[in-house]
Amino acid sequence: MSFGFNILKDRQIDFDTNDLSLARFLSLYEPSFRLCISCGGCTATCIANHHSGLSLRKIFILINRGITADIKHELDNCMLCGKCVIACPRGVNTRGLILKISELTKNSEI
């Protein structure tokens, strides 16, 4: 029977049930992944951001929260130009991570 409304899905991040495997893998594969402090330097300098709104900061933090569904095709916009590598104040190997994440999330099976 219809009540004219439905039970809403919770927006809350449930850290205990979210799948953190990707985050765990990356921090072992490329420990500099752990160093991201979400300063947004990468996103600010990103040339793809101007065209597609690609935000590496967002992608990293979502991976860290186990919300990988949201980033499925985002990284596909990256041109690997490497400006983010130069911009990152904490020496995160952003390009290496982008390639690996893309490979794992099967954007472009690198």
């Binding site: 916009n77 041109m79 472009s108």
Partner: protein
């Protein structure tokens, strides 16, 4: 006596390798593309063949290139290769002279000491031969000794690292080491019995007490000698020593103008087999010397490629600086192989949903493309702007607001489809500008513009353009009284062979000092866009080392022509690091 069963292993091995080699060669040639076949046909009866033969002699036998890089290593290779070669040739000559009439089987000269027991009584010149053969044997043995030492202490050869081996390499290696000592002993014993030795074999023969100088003792050594040879020949195809025949083919192909391309599988195989694993590429690789990673260098990479193992790390953990390719004595196109295996591992669908908003309305004579990295060194852009206006050029700034990447990094990542999509987008923008000259301040861009874009207008790196400006007196400069050294960016130097223009430009602006690590031998700044796996710490190690090696102390300015190099160097260098454009800007006179 003209036969004894101990020759059989040798005969077996020899015939096997000859058949195998001819089969392979046929396979390679037949596999060539029609255009390459044509090249082969047209050049086989020209002096190219002579040059090829000459090169084979110089490289495959004398190993001249290795000599230049590392004399001791060169001697080791040469003594083994050329020494052995002469042993065979002269040995044949000798046996022919002794027995001009009767049938002369291939093993005969090899085991001459056994079969020919009395010639030295008959022929006056026999002792001379004996002397030469013994001398050659000593030379070869010295080579073997060196090889042995190299295994034990690489340092002796001023080599930091030498290749580590697998079983497949050890069998032929050890059999190779065994061949000549065995031959020495065999002939020495023979000399003791038949008195047919030279100065070396005879004296060693004398040392062996009569009790040891027996028929059976001699036979054991001849068996050993023959078996060693047999094993060596048979294991050749699976070992690094396959490079001996392969390199010959490679040299001929190269001289006939047949080069490694995307779809030239045969030549790629020839190249892979031609790697002698001399290990010279290891010491020239900065990832080894500075970042202390000893597993991804060309020699290891090519090996795993030969074993059809597309190792991700070996393929992507490389700066593609091209230093190894330049120094490789065999001249293998290593970067091409890396690029190909990256393409093989990667498999992209291109940009699925990105839409580029590139609209170039303005028209001008010159189109300037700064490139992504140059945005991070705005001083270069400012300088270029000043220069353009000083030379009152009619120009536009292509990627000033919302430019996109040239596509080289994606190409280097093996994402060829993405790269071509970016190229298309940029090409239409360049086209719309209506410019008849494209200039970029970034060697990475220039490289891909020239090689992959197939534009109908000339593409200049700004160093070339600026040099032309000076030459054409379109801009007035005054020499600045300062010392500078010039660092060749990988993509500009080894990548595009632009060495002279920057130097001409600089020497017209200031006093240019020459340094050891320049031109083809220039170092990588560590931040090449081709390097995907290095950590920032490792990159920093490379940058710091490069600066130390370039010995930047006693100069006022480090000049370079790549924003990436500049960005890397300023991180650690007290001396000013300036782009050519900035230096020219300083020298402009009103």
């Amino acid at each position: 006596m003209t036969f004894h069963p101990f020759v059989l292993p040798f005969i077996a091995g020899l015939s096997f390798i000859i058949i195998y080699f001819f089969y392979k060669t046929y396979h390679w040639i037949s596999g060539l593309s029609d255009s390459d076949k044509k090249k082969l046909r047209n050049s086989i009866f020209t002096q190219k063949t002579y040059y090829a033969a000459k090169e084979v002699f110089l490289e495959s036998l004398l190993h001249r290139k290795i000599f230049r890089i590392n004399p001791l290593l060169g001697y080791m290779h040469a003594s083994l290769a050329f020494g052995w070669f002469l042993l065979i040739v002269i040995g044949n000559l000798e046996s022919r002279l002794y027995h001009p009439s009767d049938f002369n089987p291939p093993y005969y000269p090899i085991f001459l000491g056994f079969f020919d027991t009395d010639s030295h009584h008959t022929y006056w010149y026999a002792p001379i031969f004996k002397f030469i053969m013994n001398l050659l044997l000593i030379i070869v043995l010295s080579g073997v000794l060196l090889a042995l030492l190299k295994r034990l202490y690489a340092g002796l050869f001023k080599m930091k690292k030498t290749t580590h081996l697998k079983m497949a390499d050890k069998i032929p290696l050890y059999s190779l080491w065994l061949i000549f000592p065995a031959r020495l002993m065999a002939e020495s014993v023979a000399a003791a019995i038949y008195q047919n030795g030279g100065f070396l074999t005879t004296s060693i023969g004398k040392l062996l007490s009569t009790s040891l100088a027996t028929e059976s003792f001699m036979l054991t050594f001849y068996w050993l000698y023959s078996i060693a040879l047999g094993i060596f020949f048979c294991s050749l195809p699976w070992s690094r020593y396959m490079h001996i025949p392969s390199e010959v083919v490679l040299i001929f192909f190269r001289n006939y103008g047949i080069h490694n391309t995307e779809n030239n599988k045969e030549l790629q195989e020839v190249e892979l087999l031609s790697c002698s694993r001399c290990g010279i590429c290891i010491d020239t690789c900065q990832i080894m010397t500075s970042a202390k990673v000893n597993s991804i260098q060309a020699v290891y990479f090519l090996k795993s490629l030969r074993e059809k193992d597309y190792d991700r790390n070996k393929a992507f953990n490389c700066l593609m600086c091209g230093r190894c390719e330049k120094i490789c004595p065999v001249g293998i196109s290593i970067n091409m192989h890396r690029q190909q295996s990256r393409n093989h591992i990667s498999n992209d669908k291109g940009f699925l949903e990105t839409a580029w908003h590139l609209t170039q309305k303005k028209k001008a004579k010159i189109a300037y493309f700064s490139g992504c990295m140059t945005r991070l060194t705005p001083s270069v852009i400012v300088a270029m702007k000043k220069i353009f206006s000083a030379a009152n050029e009619n120009w536009i700034f292509l990627d000033e607001n919302n430019g996109i990447c040239c596509g080289r990094p994606t190409k280097l990542a093996g994402l060829t489809k993405k790269a071509s999509e970016l190229a298309e987008a940029n090409k239409s923008m360049i086209h719309e500008s209506g410019a008849d000259l494209l200039i970029s301040s970034c060697p990475i861009c220039v490289k891909t513009f020239t090689e992959d874009y197939h534009l109908n207008i000339p593409v200049f790196h700004h160093s070339v353009y600026l040099n032309n400006l000076i030459k054409a007196k379109k801009i007035n400069v005054q020499k600045i009284p300062i010392q500078a050294i010039y660092h060749d960016p990988c993509e500009l130097g080894r990548g595009l062979h632009i060495y002279d223009e920057p130097r001409q430009l600089l020497s017209s602006l200031l006093n240019l000092k020459t340094i050891h690590y320049s031109a083809e031998n220039a170092l990588c700044c560590g931040n090449s866009v081709a390097g995907f796996h290095l950590s920032s710490q490792e990159k920093d190690m490379i940058t710091k080392d490069a600066l130390i090696k370039m010995n930047t102390k006693d100069c006022d300015i480090i000049a370079t022509a790549c924003p990436m190099c500049k960005k890397s160097f300023v991180k650690f260098e007290q001396t000013k690091v300036k782009d050519l454009a900035e230096i020219l800007e300083m020298a402009i006179t009103k």
